[in-house]
Every structure is written in C-alpha cells, then in structure tokens.
C-alpha cells in the first residue's frame, strides 16, 4: 500500500485500474452534485445566488465530462456494488435541527458539496514523477483546483447569516458528511492499493 498512485508505467502514467476506480468515484460524487444543482436551478435566474448555482452546475458537469474523456478505463468488477453504495450516500437528507425544510435541504446540499470539494483531494495522490502532460494527471489537478474555488460558495452559505442560528446543527451535519465521504474515498482507494494516511 502506498499513499500515492503507482507503480507508474514507463511514461509515468497512472495505472489504468487506479484511474478507473478514482474516476468512477469522482464521476459519481460530482455527477450527483451536478444533478442536484440542476434540479434546484430555475429556468430564469431571479436572484444573485442562483447565478452561482448555475456556475456550480456547469463546473460539476465539466468535471464529469473531463473525467469521462481523460481516463483510461478498464473493467473493474467491484465498481458495480461500490457505485451503488456511493449513490445512496449522495441522497439529499435535510439537515437535522433546522425547522425550515427548504433551508434544511439547501444546507444538506451545501454540506455534501463542501465535503466533496474539501475532503477529496485527487491531485494529492499524484507522485512527484507523474507525467504532467498526461490528460488524467491534468484532469485531477484541475478538479482539485476547481474544487477549492467551488467550495467557497458552500463556505459562504454555511457560515452565512441564514444558517448562523443553526451553527451547531450545521457544523455537526458537515462533520458527519466529511467523515462519511472521507471513509468512502478511503475504501475506494484501498481496493486499488492506495492508503489514505490520515484516515485511522
């Protein structure tokens, strides 16, 4: 087990089995976010935050698109049951402790998006010698970079005045999401020989 992708091939590319597993996980997570943002997005934007929502939807779609095209796919038998378990985790679950159902659902989506954007760092799996010209390597770097920018909308909302009265409930829900998604990510990587050093 290593903390990084490998062993790399002679052109310093990530093994296809690891590419497949990581890309499948990221497509599942970012695809779920894209679907949920799309479901929330009205045809006609009527407030400023919906403009951000539109941007989030398109960035998530772009992440899915780039992974579909940049990954060297190989058959992975474990993916069928793993993907099913991942998809159940992305289901929206209104944040407990917030009586307003619309606000609770929005908080739930934001906690999911924050956890995906903040705690999943695919570029940190790349060893130093990874081929910077390889599309998969470039895709992971781009996803991690974009994630930290996308996350800002979730931070603004989760720390903002609407949720300030529910700070403890929001923090607890977010910690749960981080732990849940971190565990899924670690399990997905473990199956292809990668150990997350910080998951105990």
């Amino acid at each position: 087990m290593s903390e990084f992708f490998g062993p790399l091939d002679s052109e310093c590319r990530v093994p296809p089995r690891q590419q497949t597993r990581v890309a499948a996980f990221l497509i599942s997570a970012h695809g779920a976010l894209a679907r949920q943002f799309a479901f929330t997005l009205p045809m006609k934007l009527e407030s400023a935050w919906q403009t951000e929502l539109n941007a989030q939807y398109h960035r998530e779609s772009e992440i899915v698109s780039v992974l579909l095209r940049a990954t060297t796919w190989v058959p992975d038998l474990a993916l069928s049951y793993m993907a099913a378990s991942w998809e159940t985790v992305w289901f929206p679950t209104p944040t407990e402790g917030i009586a307003d159902r619309t606000l609770a659902t929005a908080a739930s989506l934001a906690t999911l998006a924050h956890a995906v954007h903040a705690s999943i760092r695919p570029a940190a799996l790349l060893p130093v010698e990874a081929n910077a010209s390889d599309p998969f390597v470039m895709a992971l770097r781009r996803i991690e970079f974009e994630s930290s920018r996308l996350m800002q909308a979730q931070i603004l909302f989760l720390k903002g005045p609407e949720l300030a009265p529910y700070r403890n409930a929001v923090s607890a829900a977010l910690e749960r999401r981080h732990a849940e998604i971190g565990k899924l990510w670690a399990e997905a990587l473990e199956g292809v020989g990668i150990a997350m050093p910080r998951v105990q």
Partner: protein, 308 residues
C-alpha cells in the same frame, strides 16, 4: 503516533527527550506542521530538554474541523498537551500564528509556564497586517495552497536561503501542500474575523519572556514586537540579524541555541528581562549584544532614539 482528544477532534503530538527534563513546547505557524521542528527536537534534546510538538487543529495530521476553528480551541488543545507533561518546568514558544496562540495561553494559563518565547509574533492586527492577511486569504481562495506558499516564501525567507533552492521550490513546498488543506487553512485564517487585540492583557503575563524578531521581518515588523516588549513586564526583545519572518526555518541552529540559553538562564535564576533590547549573534553560541544605546531600535537607519 499519539493523539490527544479535544471534544470530537484528535490532536496529533510528539514528545522527545528525557521525561523528567524541563520541556519546550513549540507551536507551529499557520501553514506549518510539526515535522518542521525536527532540527529543534535534536538540538534541544541534546541540551537535555524534553521537546513537545504538535499539529494545531486544522493542520497536518491533527483533525481539521470542517467549518469553524476558534483560537480558544487551539489554546485548549495546547493546554491538553501541556497537561501531558507532568509538573516540571515548561517553556512555551511559538512562531507567528503559533506565537499568538502561545501569548493567549500565557495570558490565561501563565502560572503553568516557566518561560515564554514569542517569535515573529503580534498581539494586534496593524492595518498592514490586517490587509496582508486579507490578501493572503484571497490568494488562498483563488489560487490554492500553492499560491499562498508562493506568496509566503519570498516574503518570509532571505535571498541566501532561497537562491540555492530556486530550481527545486516545488519540492520545498510539496509536503506543506500535501498535509495542509485549503478549507482548513481558510478556517485558521478566518479565526481572525472576530479577533480582538491582546494588547490590554499582555501586562498580565508574569513569566520571563524573550521576544524574537527577525531584523528584516516584513510580515510582522518590529513595531508589532515592540508592543509585546513594552507591555510584558519581564520581557526582552532580541533581534535576529539578517532574518526574515520565517527565521525558525532558516536559522534553526541559532534559534534553538537562543531558546536553550533563555531556559537555562531562567532555571539558573540569571534571567533579567527589564524590557531590554538585544541583538542576537549571527551564529549559535555567539554573544548577544545590547542594542546600541541612544539609537532607535524601531528604525532601519541609525536614528537617535527618544527616551520614553
């Protein structure tokens, strides 16, 4: 790898050196992690100190609270660590953000300390520091940890240190980039959003205090250290020649020597703070010399001072 538990969060720490020896507790700067004190562990243990290092909440291998990290929680984590050390003498030192946490600890738990060494530190946000902090936060948000590192390296380290590393800066930055996450660093920075100056409380710090400030520290310049010197009763200010904000990285042998000498002086009853100003030697083991009488230590050019 031992951990302490603060509520639901785990704090990773390390103890080195003899268990019954006086202990130095070292507190990381904002973008740092405990391994950066490795040279200090070695040097201080060789001088018969025990050394305690740890990752603050939000750093390295400690847990990273997802949304909020208060500075009070950092002080509580530090208190847990010091609680592990038994009843022997404890000297507390921290750099930059870690220095601020050390100051907070000394204000609230000063009786537990035998000595305090704030380094590249501040008790209040001057307009420059506030705006620099805001710019660094924006840089982190827009450009990620790598961009923040790109800003901090030239601001906080000398040409002499940087020059031989210019073609391998990526490897210098890599471990910090790997172990520190954007959201966690952002939470640490945002712990300043409700920051209140500590200056009015500094006078309550009763322990011997040696304040270390790099000669060329741009981020936290002399005036911010002067606040500490003036307000902390048993203090002295030591200026590190040719040093910038991150002199603990650049001059570990000299800094560890100064830390050891300070603690040895305090334990031997030789320490006298008297709010004096000193110039550190260029190398470990050299003599500290008093800042020249009659000159203003707040100026970069030799200007005659005015007595308060």
């Amino acid at each position: 790898m031992p951990f302490l538990r603060h509520g639901s969060y785990r704090i990773r720490y390390e103890l080195d050196g003899p268990a019954n020896a006086p202990t130095y507790v070292l507190v990381n700067g904002l973008t740092q992690y405990a391994e950066l004190w490795a040279a200090y562990r070695e040097a201080l243990v060789a001088r018969q100190f025990r050394v305690a290092t740890f990752d603050l909440l939000g750093q390295g291998t400690s847990d990273k609270p997802a949304l909020f990290i208060s500075q009070d929680d950092q002080v509580a984590a530090l208190d847990l660590l010091i609680g592990e050390l038994g009843d022997g003498p404890v000297f507390l030192s921290g750099i930059s953000f870690g220095g601020l946490i050390a100051l907070r600890y000394a204000i609230t738990h000063g009786k537990r300390l035998s000595g305090l060494v704030p380094m590249s530190c501040f008790a209040e946000l001057s307009p420059q520091l506030l705006l620099l902090g805001n710019a660094m936060r924006t840089g982190l948000i827009l450009g990620g940890t790598g961009y923040l590192q790109d800003l901090l390296l030239p601001m906080n380290l000398s040409d002499q240190w940087l020059k031989p590393l210019l073609d391998k800066l990526d490897s210098v930055k890599r471990q910090g980039w790997l172990v520190n996450d954007v959201y966690a660093l952002q939470n640490l920075m945002e712990s300043f959003l409700d920051f209140e100056p500590l200056t009015p409380q500094l006078a309550s710090i009763g322990v011997p205090t040696m304040i270390l400030n790099g000669e060329f520290d741009f981020l936290t310049p002399r005036a911010l250290h002067e606040t500490l010197r003036v307000q902390i009763p048993d203090s002295s200010l030591v200026i590190i020649p040719r040093a910038y904000h991150a002199f603990t990285l650049e001059k570990p042998a000299l800094t560890a020597d100064l830390l050891a000498r300070f603690a040895e002086d305090v334990l031997a009853g030789r320490w006298q703070g008297n709010k004096t100003v000193w110039i550190a030697p260029e190398e470990a083991g050299g003599a500290l010399v008093p800042f020249p009488a009659g000159y203003d230590h707040l100026r970069a050019i030799p200007t005659q001072g005015t007595n308060p």
